[in-house]
């Protein structure tokens, strides 16, 4: 690990002031579950590491007018256990409690989940100079790509965004509050993610001197149930990344779904808003039949790589099951 200077500011303003205006020289340290690995593998070699552990204003879950605000420094375990989250956003609670194992959830944060680097095995290999490390080619495109993107068009780098909270928050219509040298700005989570194409680009749109402060989620209707859900298809039940994730949220009045949002995870360099799928079920009752049709519409535009065609089928199933779960239907896939 390259040696670095360690800073521990106590306010968000101090943290922002320490950040450089280019990527690579400074890194923010929250839970450390990603950054430490990257440093030990010499993939990330910052001169300055700025701990957010002392910045109290970044943590906590509180109801504000019309939204639930979650501080970017809030631990994943706390999000998963929070009573308000569990009641209003079962999609968020289930996604948070399914991340890795307890050790990671006890350290990892909301901000970390949204800002983490991708898990592509070529990117993570110190010896491989891929596109995102100043190299000339993406090794996954014609290499080992069973876990990579299936929505590949226009993407020279075929990573999948690893965040499972991202798709959920987009589906829930959340907004992010970001602090930079010129003050605070807000943006929709739907506009938060970026498909990196070269060195110096990240998986999100924040500038190198910006800090994610919090996320605000609009309060949904919760009676009789909150109609949002996240479904992950996973090879392992314990400590594994999803092969495909689908998150959805809708209003369910009088037996018809409206304002349907369906977002896919682990299928593209960013979460994918599946508009065709949402349109397919908008205004309809959520049944196995309508959910199946929506699921099939969700893979529209997919162009899988040599080894990951199976993910198209998983998209169909994940969307169908997420919709049925959100509608409170019987989980036909459970024994």
């Amino acid at each position: 690990m390259k040696n670095f200077t360690y800073y521990r500011p106590t306010t968000a303003d101090q943290a922002v002031a320490l950040l450089d205006n280019k990527w690579g020289t400074t890194e923010l340290l929250a839970g450390g579950t990603d950054l430490l690995d990257l440093q030990k593998e010499y993939v990330s070699q910052p001169d300055k590491v700025i701990s957010l552990g002392g910045v109290k204003e970044l943590t906590g879950i509180e109801g504000t007018r019309g939204t639930l605000r979650i501080g970017a420094g809030t631990k994943l375990a706390e999000i998963a256990a929070n009573a308000d989250v569990r009641k209003m956003y079962p999609a968020l609670a289930s996604a948070a409690e399914d991340i890795a194992g307890p050790q990671i959830r006890n350290m990892g944060t909301l901000g970390g989940s949204l800002c983490q680097r991708n898990r592509c095995w070529y990117f993570r290999d110190e010896q491989v100079q891929c596109l995102l490390k100043g190299g000339k080619k993406c090794f996954a495109t014609d290499g080992e790509n069973r876990y990579h993107a299936i929505f590949t068009q226009g993407h020279p780098c075929v990573i999948v965004n690893p965040s499972t909270l991202g798709p959920v928050l987009i589906a829930l219509g959340a907004r992010a509050t970001v602090k930079g040298p010129k003050g605070t700005r807000e943006l929709k989570l739907a506009e938060f993610f970026n498909a990196p194409r070269a060195e110096g680009e990240r998986e999100h749109v924040l500038a190198s001197n910006e800090l994610l402060v919090s996320v605000d989620i609009p309060l949904p209707a919760v009676a009789p149930i909150a109609n949002n859900a996240s479904y992950e298809v996973r090879q392992k039940l314990s400590s594994d990344w999803p092969l495909v994730q689908a998150a959805c949220a809708f209003k369910y009045d009088g037996g018809t779904a409206s304002n349907v949002k369906i977002v896919l995870g682990h299928v593209a360099p960013t979460p994918v808003i599946a508009e065709a799928a949402a349109k397919a079920i908008e205004g309809k009752a959520v049944t196995e039949e309508s959910a199946t049709a929506a699921g099939e519409a969700a893979s529209e535009g997919a162009k899988p790589l040599a080894q990951n065609g199976y993910k198209v089928q998983l998209v169909h199933v994940a969307v169908k099951r997420a919709l049925l779960t959100a509608a409170g239907a019987k989980k036909y896939w459970e024994a």
Binding site: M1, K2, N3, K40, Y42, G101, R119, W121, Y122, D125, Q127, V128, F139, D142, G143, E144, R146, Y147, V233, R234, Q235, K236, L237, S238, S239, D240, W241, L243, Q307, N308, Y310, Q313, L314, V317, Y332, W333, E334, A335
Partner: protein, 737 residues
């Protein structure tokens, strides 16, 4: 001369005894080699070839040597040397901290001339680029292995009622020892070397290091008090062992060199892959008449078979057999022995075909198995009635009966794809059989000392890999001396305690139990002889009771009271393998086992969840039932990972392993584990037989059969992952590694 025999009535032997070091392990008090920290200790790492095949053209360590904290450099591969896989060793560096060491490795100026390489079996089969080290002047990647025919296969297939052709296989998997390979080395001023090594061969490692440094074995001490798994990959100092000791010598300070996770995966050992085309034929009554296999696998950069060629087809007796094996040498680490080398591969290449034949014949696969079991060998029944060959049919038949009962086979098994409807979830059951040796490892010297305060000490250099080997020694000594397990102090894992055999081939329990009995009997006899006069009686009047020593006239003395008569003395008994012990036939060889797996396959997602595994295993005389059950459950867990999760993935463009980790090299966690029902088939009359390896052999094949039974089509290659299951369901073959 004492005679040695296992007691007919067993007080502790064969019962469930918790391992004696369980509290230390559960509380973290146990110190593994990785936990050893010596005063002034340095940390070492190895610079490795980043290329799958390259020649070193330049190696300049001058900058690295001046890096902060660097204390010693040891070059392994000089310029001009050819390196044959990514991970091949170039040099070692020792520094004051791990971080300084890692930085210094990156300051080494090493230049390479990259050469052609091949890392995938299928690539080499398509075009052999001859990229591996010469063996007898031959650099070919594809090599002929065994080949042969018995009987007349073509004729048998033409007469068979049913013939099935299929493909079966499993990828290369990594040992992934939880405690990685490595050691701490320390030299004293008199040139004595002490190593705390994570090894399966304490005595052998000391000998090998003495040989390497050309010093007497007595000057090397190897210590392995606790060990975090080896599975066949840790029989000696290895290259990191000699490099670590070299660095310690150069630096004049203790050095720790433990592989990191990526190195553990890329150089710490693999089980070779095995893929085969199998054709099997049989008659309406279930008799298998012909078996033909054309298989290949990769032992990595080394050579040798990737199946147990002589034991193909596995377990069953088939009159007409034709077989061919090729091994594919690749630019990846050489494979090492891994828990029953060759057998899991054999099992997959045989048992899948047996089930598919049963399906085509419309028969219950358990009945087909019963029909084709090897018969008890009449010669063996005459000459060695307790031998495996004399009993194999009896053992398997009984075990199948037990397995059928524990798995509720009669009620739960259904023809392939015909399970009870539960939406997209399909239920499946499969079984597989296995066999293994498990003879006594030799030599093994065991010493038992009884002191005047009544304390009892057992010492041996043998190692406990996590198998509860220590507890075995305590049980036997306690049983023999009328004491409890807690009364026995066990010291193992130090080479100065005398010769011991390496723990491989399931040979440790059968190799140490008989000499431990002999040592305990000899110590007992020495004690009785010493104290008889002092107790006012004669030696042959005395015997051991529970917690006491008795004389024929009805008198008795509490153990401690009797031992106190030793005064300033102590007595010692030694047990070692000699003609007497051989003749006593306290151990044996050869086991059979049956496993049944139950799975649920989600046909929409292709995910497989294994819900239950029944494992029936014989091991002759059970020393510690709990230890045996634990070993068997552990074997099942490892076999389940082989079936569903593990796969070493190589990239043909970079020549590197893309998953040298525990993230995408997948291993099941608690939620992925089935209910494991273990039944130990006790046959005390056979003596002690080792079972470290056998319980892992048939699990993957049983799960593969259960998946096929669930969905009605065969998924050819393990691991049975969502992509492969979905491919099979859609009529495609399913991707190879």
């Amino acid at each position: 001369m004492a005679t040695y025999q296992w007691p007919k009535e067993r007080r502790i032997l064969g019962t469930r005894v918790p391992r004696i070091d369980a509290p230390d392990k559960a509380t973290g008090m146990a110190k593994y080699s990785f936990d050893i920290n010596r005063p002034g200790m340095l940390h070492a790492m190895i610079l490795r070839s980043p290329y799958a095949h390259a020649k070193i053209t330049k190696l300049d360590t001058s900058v690295a040597e001046k890096m902060p904290g660097v204390k010693a450099v040891h070059v392994i591969a000089q310029p001009g040397k050819e390196l044959f896989y990514a991970g091949d060793e170039v040099l070692g560096i020792a520094a004051d901290t791990e971080e300084h060491c890692a930085d210094a490795l990156r300051a080494v100026k090493a230049e390479y001339e990259p050469l052609d390489f091949q890392v995938l079996e299928t690539d080499a089969l398509e075009k052999d680029l001859k990229t591996v080290s010469p063996q007898a002047n031959n650099r070919s990647n594809v090599r002929a292995g065994g080949q042969g025919e018995t009987g007349n296969v073509a004729d048998a297939f033409s007469k068979a009622d049913a013939v099935v052709e299929g493909e079966y296989g499993a990828p290369t998997i990594c040992h992934q020892c939880l405690e990685s390979h490595g050691l701490v080395s320390e030299w004293d001023k008199d040139g004595n070397l002490t190593v705390w090594a994570s090894t399966q061969a304490v005595y052998g490692t000391a000998q090998a290091l003495a040989g390497y440094f050309r010093i007497p074995t007595t000057k090397v001490k190897c210590i392995t008090h606790f060990m975090g798994g080896g599975f066949g990959s840790k029989f000696g100092p290895d290259i990191q062992g000699t490099v670590c000791a070299e660095l310690a010598k150069k630096a004049g300070a203790p050095v720790k060199l433990m592989l990191d996770r990526a190195d553990e995966a890329t150089v710490g050992g693999t089980r070779p892959s095995a893929y085969g085309k199998v054709k099997i034929g049989g008659m309406k009554d279930g008799t298998i008449t012909a078996y033909e296999v054309d298989c290949y696998g990769s032992p990595g950069v080394g050579g040798g078979s990737t199946v147990n060629f002589g034991l193909l087809p596995y377990v069953y007796v088939v009159p007409n057999v034709k077989k061919k094996h090729q091994f594919i040498r690749l630019n990846v680490q050489g494979s090492r022995a891994m828990r029953a080398p060759g057998h899991p591969q054999n099992c997959i290449l045989t048992e899948g075909a047996v089930d598919d034949l049963a399906a085509k014949l419309g028969l219950d696969p358990m009945q087909v198995r019963l029909k084709n079991l090897p018969q008890n060998d009449p010669n063996a029944q005459m000459n060695a009635p307790q031998s495996y060959n004399a009993l194999r049919n009896t053992i398997y038949t009984k075990e199948l009966e037990i397995a059928a009962q524990l798995s509720d086979w009669k009620n739960k098994w259904h023809p392939p794809g015909k399970g009870p409807p539960k939406g997209p979830l399909k239920h499946g059951m499969g079984m597989a059989l296995h066999t293994w040796g498990g003879a006594a490892g030799k030599p093994n010297e065991i010493n038992v000392t009884v002191s005047s305060d009544g304390s009892v000490l057992v010492q041996a250099s043998t190692q406990d890999l996590g198998t509860a080997a220590k507890t075995v020694l305590a049980i036997i000594v306690a049983e023999t001396l009328g004491l409890e397990v807690k009364d026995i102090t066990v010291r193992v894992g130090e080479s100065q305690y005398g010769p011991s055999s390496g723990s491989g081939g399931s040979t440790t329990c059968p190799g140490t139990s008989p000499p431990t009995l002999a040592a305990a009997v000899n110590a007992r006899d020495a004690l009785l002889e010493k104290i008889a006069g002092r107790l006012g009686t004669k030696t042959d009047e005395l015997s051991i009771g529970v917690g006491e020593i008795r004389s024929k006239d009805g008198k008795s003395w509490k153990w401690k009271e009797a031992c106190a008569k030793l005064g300033m003395e102590s007595v010692k008994g030694t047990g070692m393998w000699n003609a007497d012990l051989d003749k006593a036939a306290l151990s044996n060889v050869g086991v059979g086992g049956v496993q049944v797996a139950e799975v649920w396959v989600d046909t929409e997602t292709g995910t497989v969840r294994c819900s239950k595994v029944v494992a029936v295993q014989d091991c002759g005389l059970i020393v510690n039932k709990l230890g045996c059950e634990s070993q068997t459950a552990g074997g099942v867990i490892m076999g389940l990972n082989y079936a569903l999760f593990e796969e070493r993935i190589m990239d043909r463009h970079t020549g590197r392993q893309v998953n040298p980790d525990m993230e995408f090299y997948k291993l099941g966690g608690l939620s992925d584990m089935p209910q494991i029902v273990v039944h130990m088939h006790d046959m005390p009359e056979r003596g002690v037989i080792g079972i470290g390896e056998p319980p892992t052999i048939s699990t993957a094949a049983a799960i593969g059969n259960a998946v096929a039974n669930a969905i009605g089509v065969r998924v050819p290659y393990a691991p049975y992952t969502p992509d492969r299951v979905l491919a099979a369901l859609s009529g495609q073959k399913g991707g190879k590694a």
